[in-house]
């Protein structure tokens, strides 16, 4: 006997508003599709430039998402759970990269970490290491713009969690770190995933901060969005084609991911 599924019916106000919401995203995609040079697509997309950019984009966006996870989740936890002076200010500062035009963000990064930057100059003098114009520069720029999404999402989720389960774990002798790893994190897993997706997607699409902080060199720092930008000035068809690659990559990754760990297998 298989379990009978009862069809959930959606109340119409939610259905109407939600569909309108979906239209906001679907319409432009249709717009994009109508202007796509489908016949020349293969040729436009199979160039060196695009392949190089795609590789770089995948690598840097995944790295940036990973770093955002590593640093962002602890930061969110500190913001949500530990009272320290200036907490509110730190929390507000975390959301700044979202507000700052990315180009300005990139400039701020240069001011801080560039060859003449507040931190960058001493580091460069001492070690010769230079972030701008390198792959690591791309990653740093991506982390800067992408991590806030993860931090805000995770902090919101942490505030949703009632502390009693964590307290119960503490009475069992678990240190705060163990509680965090084995109780808190699993409890907010869906939100951490949501935040990770947001951060990854934002990193994949990042343009302004990257071009300003890391520059634009094919094979080294030219990610897909930078390639799109270059193409936009030359030939719209190529730009649209590269954008479709971007769309396809993110669609593929998101569709694959969700099956596994987004929906806990209970999905369509």
């Amino acid at each position: 006997m298989t379990r009978r599924k009862i069809r959930q019916r959606a109340p119409w106000p939610l259905l109407v508003l939600g569909s309108l919401g979906a239209a906001v995203f679907v319409l432009p995609l249709i717009g994009l599709a109508t202007r796509t040079p489908w016949s020349r697509l293969r040729e436009l997309v199979m160039s060196d430039v695009v392949v190089d950019a795609l590789k770089l984009s995948l690598m840097t966006s995944v790295l940036a998402a990973a770093i955002s996870l590593l640093l962002g989740v602890p930061l969110a936890w500190l913001l949500a759970r530990v009272e320290f002076p200036g907490r509110r200010i730190v929390r507000a500062i975390v959301t700044l990269p979202m507000v700052l035009p990315p180009v300005v963000g990139g400039a701020a990064l240069l001011f801080a970490l560039g060859r003449r930057g507040v931190i960058g100059e001493p580091i460069n003098d001492a070690t010769g290491f230079l972030l701008p114009f390198s792959v690591w520069g791309v990653v740093v720029a991506n982390v800067f713009v992408a991590m806030p999404f993860l931090v805000v999402t995770v902090e919101g989720a942490l505030r949703n969690v009632d502390g009693r389960h964590e307290a119960a774990a503490a009475t069992l002798g678990a240190s705060r770190l163990t509680v965090f790893r084995r109780i808190t994190l699993p409890m907010i897993a869906p939100s951490v995933r949501a935040g990770l997706v947001l951060a990854w997607a934002r990193a994949l699409g990042e343009f302004g901060a990257t071009v300003t902080f890391a520059g634009n060199l094919q094979g080294r720092t030219q990610t897909l969005p930078l390639a799109v930008f270059v193409a936009l000035e030359q030939d719209r068809d190529t730009a649209v084609a590269i954008s479709l690659v971007l769309v396809a990559v993110s669609l593929a990754v998101l569709l694959l991911l969700r099956d596994r760990w987004w929906s806990n297998g209970a999905d369509l």
Binding site: F111, G114, R115, V211, G215, N216, V230, L232, Q234
Partner: protein, 227 residues
């Protein structure tokens, strides 16, 4: 500019013309009190896209002949007129920390070298110059526009880059190194009235004003040469 006007003129101008066209707009309004000028400033490519998509614009002043030509072929713009010209220079941070002497140094992989991207006019001209000099530049970044390139040189993040003379004139934080005249490439800025201009008369007046003595003087003040 909150006064009543009979007509509003929408001028699409390349971002590198921001300062000069800002002043030209004010001067034009003073001369034509019944016309209000609105500037729409963006990269030449983005402007072209907006025009193609039916922006209700009147005048298009571009940094690239190519962009305008594309619009003319599409029947969206009337035949253009060149209104300004420019020259290339090597810009280095004040004090020239990289010790750049001439165009040969751009091949030095020890230095951090930037150019404009090949998709924008300044990048195309720079590459022409390098080719003529037979130099294979060791490029670390292809910036999106000349201002971005200049900004990085000003900040000392790059040791050298090829930019327009007009940009160097506007900056206090760079030193310039002249290129031999043989490497000079002809750099011209076209302006055109758009075919679907809602105010073709006012558009004509604006173009005429840019080409007038007064307009040319303003352009010169911002480092542009007459065409």
């Amino acid at each position: 500019t909150g006064r009543d006007s009979d007509e509003t003129l929408l001028v699409m101008a390349a971002a590198s013309l921001t300062d000069a066209f800002g002043e030209i707009g004010v001067a034009f309004e003073a001369a034509n009190p019944d016309i209000e000028v609105r500037l729409n400033l963006a990269g030449s490519g983005a402007l072209r896209e907006q025009i193609v998509q039916g922006a209700p614009a009147d005048v298009f002043a571009s940094a690239s002949a190519q962009t305008v030509q594309a619009l003319v072929s599409a029947g969206l713009a009337l035949s253009p007129t060149d209104f300004a010209s420019n020259e290339l220079r090597i810009a280095v941070p004040t004090g020239n920390p990289g010790g750049v002497v001439g165009i040969e140094d751009l091949a030095n992989s020890e230095l951090l070298i930037g150019l404009c991207g090949a998709q924008v006019p300044c990048g195309q001209f720079a590459r022409q110059a390098l080719e003529q000099a037979g130099i294979d530049a060791s490029v670390d970044t292809n910036e999106g526009d000349v201002r971005a390139l200049l900004g990085k040189i000003e900040a000392g993040e790059l040791d050298a880059g090829i930019v327009y003379a007009s940009d160097i004139a506007a900056s206090d934080d760079v030193d310039e190194i002249l290129l031999p005249p043989t490497f000079g490439v002809a750099i011209t800025y076209p302006i055109t009235i758009l075919s679907e201009s809602p105010n073709p008369d006012a558009a004509g007046a604006f173009v005429a004003f840019v080409l007038s003595v007064e307009g040319q003087a303003i352009l010169h003040a911002y480092g542009f040469d007459p065409s």
